[in-house]
Each structure stands twice: as structure tokens, then as C-alpha cells.
């Protein structure tokens, strides 16, 4: 019993020491997407920053997928426990609209480019919201099983061509992107896609085009599903985020090729939750984590393009594979011959309506 008590006391004392040791460092809770993506941020941003700033401890939270709803709930409860959140641009805009994240003064808060170009110019058009600090350009695009097709797929419309490319396709269970691709393959001029999609007839046209492959579609809800479906041979071609396909092809060595035609660019970046208890520490961290070199460094671990114009020339080789990363970037000229940019305003307006129509169509 005595020994037991002694052990317990020792454990309690150690726990208290540990606790005191922790409270001395400022803890920043950084919310991101987990997996390879958080790992790339850990390697490129968090680890070097913590090394130079021993007083800061960065804690990763992988719940970015439900961040918008959680930030809203935190605000309503009056207790914001997150310090920095990684969000896609459309969500950043919604969060900014609702006043759930702080407005950023990009030029004063962020580092200038090495040649002195102010941050707002270096990021340029990628600053789609005054609350948003762009980080990467990613794209939603297709990968296909090169061993299961008679000839390489080169056009987005090959996805809709069941005769030449039989087999199942993986598409995201959302109207976004799918409706655009359907219209392009139904002969609508790419520049007119959103004009057409804004009308009832246009939506009908897009859904009618999707009808032609509906029976062969596996609908995914998480970006990790398509790589698995491709690896299992369950689908011949499928859409997902380009970084996932890079890993499938280069790291996992699966017989899959990229189909970059009409890839849809989107942005991902940081937002600072309003009401964070460590605002000053977060802003200091952000200045470091979004400078030219850091953004270029991230591309060593994942194939997403940096959003600063000044970072592009600095993109080097993959950290472990040693292959040059530039040709795997969605923004590489060879990959970006035909692209769409996520139309934020159109989807903010029509998301609810088209989502209802899309789901009704799915149920038919």
C-alpha cells in the first residue's frame, strides 16, 4: 500500500510538472485536413517555426472538414478554442460573410516577396476574400487506369464516352464540377458554361448528359475514395484532388495516369477565427508560414502549387522521391492547357438550389 501511495504521489507530481511545463509554452491549435496534407504543413511550416520559437507549441487538429459548422457553433457558445484554420476559398468567404473569421490586412500582416513586392500583389487575384490568406492552388481532376483502356484518355469527354472507355467512373456526389464538365462535353462553349448553368434549361441539359453515364458512376464523398477505387480496379477513371492522384501514381506506383483536361482550380488557405485567444502569436506565425520560401517548401511534400508568384521558381524536388515537382503541379503550363477556375459567386448563389436539383436527380 505504501509503495502504491508513493507511486501515485510521484505520478501526480509528474503530471503537475508536465502540466506546468505545458502552460509555459503558448499552444496554437491549427486546424487542417489531416493525412499527407497536414504532414506537408508540419514539415514545411510548423517544425521550422517551433524550432526557432521554443515558446510556441503547435497542435494539429484534423477537423477542417467540418470547420465551418464548428466555428459557427464555437461562436454561438462564445468559446473559440481554435487559433488558425485551413479552409477552401468558398468556405473562407462564407466564414468571412458571417463574421466568424477576422479580416486580414495582407500587406502589413504578411511578409513581402524577396524582391520587395508587397504581399497583396504577390498573391494577386488569389486573395478572393479579405479574410483569406491563400496557401495552395489545387485542382479537381481525373486519373485513369492506363492498363484498362485501349488508348490513353486525353479529353474530359472521354469520361462520358462509355463506348470507347467502358467501365465505372468515380465522381464526387456534388453538383459542383460535374455539371460544368457535362455541359462542356455537351458542346457548350467553356466561357458560356455559367451562363447556361444559370438557367433551368441549362441544368436540365447538364443532368441529361450525366444521365448517359449515371448507371456507371460510383459517387464519392471523401477525396480518399477515388484513389482506392482506382487501385482496386473498381473504376476505370475517377475525379479527385490532384495531390491524391500524385501520391497514387508516384508514391504507391499504381498503373494510373493523369487526365488534366478541364481540371478545376480551387484555392486553399488560412483563416484566423475571430475570438482566438492567441491572436498576436498566430499573426507572428502566419507571417513566417506564408512567406515565399515556406510556400515553395510545402511543394516538397505534396503536389499543390504555391499561391505566391514569387514562390513558383523556388519549387524544387520531392523530399523523399527526389523527382522534380514542377511538372506535377496543376499550374504547370503543360497540365493547365484547359482549366476552369471555381466560380465562387455563381456557386454561392446557386449551391442550395442546384444541390437540391442534383439530389432529386440522383434519387430518380
Amino acid at each position: 500500500m505504501n509503495k502504491f501511495m508513493r507511486t501515485m504521489t510521484a505520478a501526480a507530481v509528474m503530471a503537475m510538472v508536465g502540466f506546468a511545463g505545458q502552460t509555459m509554452a503558448t499552444e496554437l491549435v491549427v486546424v487542417s485536413w489531416g493525412g499527407a496534407y497536414t504532414a506537408s504543413q508540419q514539415n514545411a511550416y510548423h517544425a521550422p517555426y517551433m524550432k526557432n520559437n521554443p515558446g510556441i507549441k503547435i497542435i494539429n487538429d484534423d477537423s477542417a472538414g467540418s470547420a465551418v459548422a464548428k466555428l459557427r457553433a464555437m461562436k454561438q457558445a462564445g468559446n473559440t478554442t481554435w487559433d488558425l484554420v485551413d479552409a477552401v476559398a468558398s468556405d473562407a468567404m462564407r466564414l468571412c460573410d458571417e463574421g466568424l473569421v477576422d479580416v486580414i490586412d495582407h500587406d502589413n500582416a504578411l511578409a513581402s516577396a524577396p524582391d520587395g513586392t508587397p504581399a497583396s500583389k504577390d498573391f494577386g487575384d488569389f486573395i478572393v476574400s479579405e479574410c483569406f490568406i491563400p496557401q495552395i492552388v489545387y485542382s479537381t481532376t481525373f486519373g485513369y487506369r492506363k492498363d484498362k483502356v485501349s488508348r490513353p484518355m486525353s479529353s474530359i469527354c472521354d469520361v462520358f464516352d462509355l463506348k470507347s472507355f467502358p467501365g465505372k467512373r468515380a465522381l464526387e456526389k456534388k453538383p459542383i464540377n460535374n455539371l460544368e464538365w457535362a455541359l462542356i462535353c455537351d458542346g457548350v462553349a467553356p466561357s458560356k458554361v455559367y451562363d447556361v448553368l444559370g438557367t433551368n434549361a441549362g441544368v436540365k441539359q447538364a443532368l441529361a448528359k450525366l444521365d448517359t453515364i449515371k448507371s456507371k458512376v460510383v459517387w464519392w464523398t471523401s477525396g480518399s475514395q477515388t484513389p482506392q477505387l482506382l487501385a482496386d480496379g473498381e473504376v476505370v477513371v475517377g475525379s479527385t484532388y490532384n495531390g491524391r492522384l500524385f501520391k497514387l501514381i508516384e508514391v504507391d506506383k499504381q498503373p494510373v495516369s493523369m487526365l488534366w483536361d478541364w481540371q478545376v482550380f480551387d484555392l486553399d488557405g488560412w483563416v484566423v477565427p475571430s475570438g482566438t485567444k492567441n491572436k498576436a502569436a498566430v499573426m507572428k506565425y502566419l507571417k513566417f508560414a506564408t512567406d515565399t520560401q515556406r510556400l515553395a517548401d510545402q511543394a516538397k511534400w505534396i503536389s499543390y502549387g504555391p499561391t505566391r508568384a514569387s514562390s513558383a521558381p523556388l519549387v524544387g524536388n520531392h523530399n523523399s522521391l527526389g523527382i522534380p515537382m514542377a511538372p506535377h503541379m496543376p499550374t504547370d503550363p503543360l497540365n493547365a492547357k484547359t482549366t476552369l477556375l471555381f466560380n465562387y459567386e455563381f456557386w454561392a448563389d446557386n449551391r442550395d438550389d442546384l444541390d437540391a436539383k442534383f439530389n432529386a436527380w440522383l434519387l430518380k
Binding site: G65, S66, V68, A69, R72, R94, C96, D97, E98, G99, K168, K173, V218, W219, T221, D232, G233, E234, E345, A348, D349, N350, R351, D352, D353, D355, A356, K357, N359, A360, L362, L363, K364
Partner: protein, 420 residues
């Protein structure tokens, strides 16, 4: 007798009746204190959120809160007169959008109205950008100049009809009705546009099927468990519980590996020549996948109540029936089976209620024909942020569960339920 009793006193001179009442009160307080933490917990963690959800599904305070003067001024405007509202309404609107813009609230009005009619999100976002430049009247022309939609009667009809404190709009949407703002009438959606009624129906049908399948598989298994020796039944129970201790996601993805077209089962069937390469069966990413995976996941909830009830049924009952001349089948059906009723009831209602609210498994293996209504709730809560609609669907689902519960109570009786 009465009198004598009243006169009985305890050793310290207090009448026995009072003393007894005191002692009982003390024990009542102690008993209450014991359940008090649970009561607080239930109120805070269960009743509170449900009440909050109920309120959220009818709450419509945003427009009125952010545009108070405009919504009041709109009350005097006849929305079916065919004319735009007057200058006073426009003046109030310009003023309030300016204020809302300063407080960063104008887009919230836009988002709220966008749930009712597409386009309001950009209308208010644009107005917020441009309205600061409007300084002098006439406000009507100036506002219409920022966007021609302000000059459409329909825009103002939508705002007026959504400016009351409460709305039935979310329930209408959750039941596939739509309000036509140009006439104020409520119309039901065409069957090809209907979503939620179809999903409610599908959820109930598939949940019933899953409940039935867990019963068909679980009943003989529980019977065997209750008849073999304790040593063997303990080992078998572990096999029943083992999946319980495995992550839900792992169990679900294992089913994907088994059932998909390039999966284990299809490979085997092709190997033995039961089907050919082209005829591989589609058993996942559809309703079949949902039913198979969920039957497996929910099976323990059927087996455990059944097992605990069957263990208490004396073997002598059936023996007695047989020795009195009953056919073994008749003895089982007339004597044994009715005694398991409490377990069947408990297991069925447990599985059914759990199934009706499941959303992870249907999302992963359900494709488009095997998703449940709960997937739409999850979408509206975490993705579209239309919490009002999500709450309304949630309340209806809660109503359906309670309805089934009442049915169950009428037919079987809730007191007969035995959970183990």
C-alpha cells in the same frame, strides 16, 4: 383507532406521524440528491439541445433583426398590387444595408434568403459593396442602379414573406413543398423534384428490412448461444462482441473490400464459374451494400437482448410440452417462442431506431440508392449550413421514431421490453 394513533409520540415527545414524515422527507431529499446530477445532465445534454433544435427549425429572426425598419415598412405594401414598394422602403433598405455592411451582417441576410430563392446571396453581397456610394435620394433609382433585381417585384415579395419572426418554410422544404412567393401559395413539388419524402420513405423501408434481417440471423444464433454450455457460449459471445470493439469505419470498409465488383466475393464467384467476368455483381454503392453492412453492424444489438431473455426460459417448459404430446415444432412455436417476445421487441426497436439515424455507413457504401435521410441532415448541418432545414428534418425524424415507439407500446407494451 385513529385517535390512539395520533397520540403516539416518540421518545423526544414529537408525534410519530410528524417524526415519520421528517424521516421520509430526509430520505426523499437524499434520493433526489442522488439522481440530481443525472437530471442536470439529461436537461443540459439531452432536453436542452432537442428544444434548441425545435426552435432552430422555426426561427426566422435574421431578416427582422438586421433589416427591422425595412421589414416594418414593407408591411404597408401590398405585394400583389403589381407595383414596387415606395421610396420609404428603399430609403430604409439602403440605410439598413449600410449599417449591416458596417457590422458585416448584410451577407447573412443574403444567405438566409438564398435558402428560399437562388440569387439573394450575390444580391446582398453586391449591395453591400455599392450601397456606401449612395448618399442622396432618390434611393429607389440609386438602389436599382446597383442591380436591376432590386427593381423586380419578386425580390421584395421574397423579403416581405420572410420578415416574420417565425417561419414554416423549413418544414415545407423538408416535406417537399415550396412556397411560390409571387402568389403566396404553397405548392407540392413534382415527384421528379422530390427529395425528402422519398428519403424518409426509403430510410423507413430499409431500416425495417435491416431489423428483420438481424432478427432472422440473430434468433437462431441466440438460441444456440443459450443452449450450449457456458464455456462455449462465452467464447461465442466474444465473437459476437468482437466487431463491437472494432472501429465502425474499419468494419464498413471491410465490406467494401468484400462486396465490390473487383472484390473477394465476386472474384470467388468468377473463379468457380458461377458468373462470368462481365456479369460481376454490383453489391456495393447501392441499397444492397447499405443493407448488408448495416445488418452486420447492428446484429449484436439484436443478439444480446434475445440471448439474455432466452437464457432465463427454463428448458423444462419445452420438455413438459413435448412429454404432454406436443410435436417438437409445436412445442417451440406455442411454448418457447412466445416467451422470447420481450427480447424480440427490445432487439427490434433498438436496431430499428439505431438504423433510422445511421449516416456514416450509408454515406460510404450506399451510393445513390442506399443513402438515408440522415445523410441529408449531416449535409445541411456541416456543409450547406442550412441549420434550419437540417433541424426541421431532424424534428420530423424524431417524430417518426416517437410514432413507432407509440405503436410499439400499443401492440407489445413498453413494460414487456427487456434489454438484458
Amino acid at each position: 383507532m385513529e385517535k390512539i394513533q395520533e397520540n403516539i409520540v416518540t421518545a423526544d415527545g414529537i408525534p410519530l406521524k410528524i417524526s415519520l414524515a421528517r424521516a421520509q422527507r430526509r430520505s426523499k431529499i437524499v434520493a433526489f440528491m442522488m439522481v440530481f446530477p443525472l437530471l442536470v445532465f439529461i436537461v443540459v445534454a439531452f432536453i436542452g439541445p432537442i428544444a434548441d433544435m425545435l426552435l432552430l427549425s422555426i426561427d426566422n429572426s435574421i431578416v427582422k433583426k438586421i433589416l427591422p425598419k425595412s421589414s416594418e415598412a414593407l408591411q404597408n405594401w401590398d405585394e400583389y398590387s403589381g407595383e414596387l414598394p415606395g421610396e420609404a422602403v428603399f430609403a430604409a433598405m439602403v440605410d439598413e444595408i449600410k449599417k449591416a455592411k458596417a457590422a458585416k451582417e448584410h451577407t447573412r441576410v443574403g444567405q438566409r434568403l438564398n435558402y428560399e430563392s437562388s440569387g439573394f446571396s450575390s444580391l446582398f453581397r453586391k449591395a453591400g459593396r455599392k450601397v456606401t456610394k449612395i448618399k442622396t435620394p432618390p434611393f429607389k433609382e440609386a438602389l436599382i442602379k446597383t442591380d436591376k433585381r432590386w427593381g423586380e417585384i419578386y425580390t421584395w415579395q421574397v423579403i416581405k414573406q420572410n420578415s416574420s419572426s417565425y417561419t414554416e418554410g423549413y418544414y415545407l422544404a423538408a416535406l417537399d413543398f415550396k412556397r411560390k412567393f409571387s402568389s403566396g401559395n404553397i405548392e407540392s413539388l413534382e415527384s421528379k423534384d422530390s427529395i425528402y419524402l422519398k428519403l424518409f420513405f426509403r430510410t423507413i423501408v430499409l431500416s425495417s428490412l435491416i431489423t428483420f434481417l438481424t432478427f432472422v440471423i440473430g434468433f437462431p444464433l441466440s438460441y444456440m448461444l443459450s443452449t450450449v454450455s457456458t464455456r462455449i457460449s462465452n467464447i461465442l459471445i466474444i465473437f459476437v462482441l468482437l466487431p463491437f470493439w472494432t472501429s465502425l469505419l474499419v468494419r464498413t470498409t471491410s465490406w467494401i473490400a468484400l462486396l465490390q465488383q473487383e472484390g473477394v466475393i465476386n472474384d470467388f464467384l468468377v473463379l468457380v464459374g458461377f458468373i462470368n467476368e462481365e456479369g460481376r455483381l454490383a453489391m456495393i454503392h447501392n441499397a444492397t451494400g447499405t443493407v448488408v453492412a448495416m445488418t452486420h453492424i447492428l446484429l449484436p444489438f439484436m443478439i444480446l437482448p434475445l440471448f439474455s431473455v432466452m437464457k432465463t426460459i427454463p428448458k423444462s417448459y419445452v420438455r413438459a410440452a413435448i412429454s404432454l404430446g406436443a410435436h417438437p415444432w409445436k412445442a417451440f412455436w406455442k411454448v418457447y417462442f412466445p416467451n422470447t417476445g420481450a427480447g424480440i421487441g427490445a432487439g427490434s426497436i433498438l436496431v430499428f431506431i439505431l438504423a433510422i439515424g445511421y449516416y456514416i455507413t450509408p454515406a460510404l457504401v450506399g451510393g445513390s440508392s442506399g443513402t438515408f435521410i440522415s445523410n441529408r441532415i449531416a449535409y445541411h448541418i456541416s456543409s450547406s449550413l442550412n441549420w434550419g432545414l437540417g433541424s426541421a428534418i431532424g424534428v420530423i425524424l424524431l417524430g417518426i421514431v416517437l410514432l413507432f415507439f407509440v405503436f410499439y407500446d400499443r401492440i407489445v407494451g413498453i413494460n414487456n421490453m427487456k434489454l438484458g
